[in-house]
Amino acid sequence: MFYREAGDFKTSYAEDTQTFPIRFDRYRYFAVLAVAFLVVPFVINDYWLNAVFLPFLIYSIAAIGLNILVGYCGQVSLGTGGFMAVGAYACYKLMTAFPDVNIFFHVIIAGGVTAAVGTLFGLPSLRIKGFYLAVATLAAQFFLVWLFNRVPWFYNYSASGQINAPERTIFGIPVTGAETAPWATYLLCLVFLTASALIARNLTRGMAGRKWMAIRDMDIAAEIIGVNPLRAKLSAFAVSSFFVGIAGALFFAVYLGAVEVGEVFGINKSFLVLFMVIIGGLGSIFGSFAGAAFLVLLPVLLKNLLVGGLGWPTDLAAHLEFIIVGGLIVTFLVAEPHGLAQLWRVAKEKLRLWPFPH
């Protein structure tokens, strides 16, 4: 009833190109932001933070990054885990080398370093496509993990081979290390996620996004109307890796605090983020959120339901959880190959006409 564009007239092209052209969407977006920034920090506790919010926020950033590459530019990448590792190790090296600089900037610079590495590994995309490119990025995944395992300089020659985040503060409030408050780490990640989503949205609704989508939909036609394929593909790799690197840096410094690269940033991570993007919806920023939420929340939900609600033994529930999540993914992709974002879009279309669909 209230979800209408009738009467919501646009009188300038600037208004027509805004992110949420429908007024109701815009209000809902502001409401979500208000709750996320003003309500959640006051009620959040350690369990919710570590089980739900931090992984959701950080994976959302990674999924937005990967979605730009796979969903918008059509270049399949299986190197996400490796690129997250680059972000994490860059952040670690920066934190230990320049302890006086604010961690906020370290995370951003770590994103920049990952962008450079991502661009380098994106070079093969100029020659190869599809599955072959996926294999090439897989090489990046294994090479990067191997590199961080084998070259002691990256983990500052520590005996364990792990990297540990020292305590760092923003405005005097610790955000990494052992003494963090839930609301502080939550807000830090939320700020990064909000900024990432806004930047990604601005890029994808403008000329950069059009170039990427043109390359995705038909690369030869794109080149003939003036898209430089080299620059378009490499810029997609750079922007995508930038976000993935930030996600990696936050994952290490803020969420885990200590990382063993093979365990945390292995091939599993690449697939997890890729699944988020596919389930959420390729080529949709909202889909990145939806996919991250789905794959972060579902296991938590199932665990609470089976162990907490039904009182099953933990190991049985853990195995069943794999089966159910896997089954849901398959069912879901058969039913709606375009992901949660498409379901959402269809629901909105229906809602616009409801209750008079004719």
Partner: protein, 273 residues
């Protein structure tokens, strides 16, 4: 002779045609042992509608691909706006102001009509990635300014109602029109149309012909087109190049070409005895 002819001529219906914009000089294009284009020269003049015709496999599309930089000829030179064009990538040619459509529609299916046409504005938008990511300053100003010119073209080609429809959902005739819109959005100095009427019914052909004439008339765009429908070609074009087996067998006004014995032989066949 390295100077381009700057003298124009006046067409039968009184339109003034300018000097030479593009000149192909002795173009030869080979694929391995196959000679697709053999020593062809012709020119395209400012403001005219130039048709390239010929039977199947004559090398017309290859010629268009040479012009748009997709193929590099082994022999011969392409002269554009008084300068010899060095070897270029297709995207560099596009940025010089040569836009084209394709025989088999090459639109970006996942994008809306508006985005497709906006992509055509590429060579007029220069905001950097950082400005775009903030949607501020130059990026926003460019978006709005170019949207205005795109809307004019959308208006002109009468596709306002499908502005926000994904191209994949459109019927064939409309797709052809959107592709023309995308090419026009570049404000090209030469517009190349590869079989703009292929697969259309009479009504759609009439619409398309009207659009081609209107584009030429209103924007003064130079048009080079390939078309199989002889009626359309003879009606639309000012001058016609006829190709057969990679060779040029005729060049001139529609009437001259129609009465050329080689052309008649190529189309109707000739008794070999």
């Amino acid at each position: 002779m390295n100077e381009m002819n700057t003298e124009g001529y006046v067409t039968e219906d009184g339109r003034k045609i300018g000097g030479v914009v593009m000149e192909m000089r002795n173009i030869t294009l080979r694929f391995g042992g196959v000679v697709a284009i053999k020593d062809i020269s012709f020119d395209i003049r400012q403001g005219e509608i130039r048709a390239i015709i010929g039977p199947n496999g004559a090398g017309k599309s290859s010629m268009l691909n040479v012009i748009s930089g997709f193929y590099n000829p082994q022999v011969g030179e392409v002269w554009y706006k008084g300068e010899r064009r060095p070897q270029m990538k297709p995207y560099q040619v596009a940025r010089q102001g040569i836009a084209r459509t394709f025989q088999n529609i090459a639109l970006f299916e996942g994008m809306t009509v508006l985005d497709n046409v906006m992509t055509g504005r590429l060579r007029h938008m220069h905001a950097g990635l950082v400005a775009q990511s903030l949607w501020k300053g130059r990026a926003e100003a460019e978006e709005v300014k170019n949207r205005e010119s795109v809307e004019k073209i959308i208006d002109f080609l009468e596709i306002q109602h499908i502005r926000k429809t994904p191209v994949g959902r459109l019927p064939y005739g409309l797709k052809k029109r959107v592709e023309l819109a995308r090419a026009l959005a570049a404000e090209p100095s030469i517009l190349l149309l590869d079989e703009p009427m292929a697969g259309m019914n009479v009504e759609e052909k009439e619409d398309m012909s009207r659009f081609v004439l209107d584009v030429n008339d209103e924007f003064g765009t130079t048009i080079a087109l390939i078309e199989h429908d002889m009626g359309v070609v003879m009606d639309l074009s000012d001058r016609v190049v006829v190709m057969d087996y990679g060779k040029k067998i005729g060049d001139g006004s529609p009437d001259e070409v129609r009465n050329n014995q080689d052309v008649i032989d190529a189309y109707l066949g000739v008794a070999h005895d």
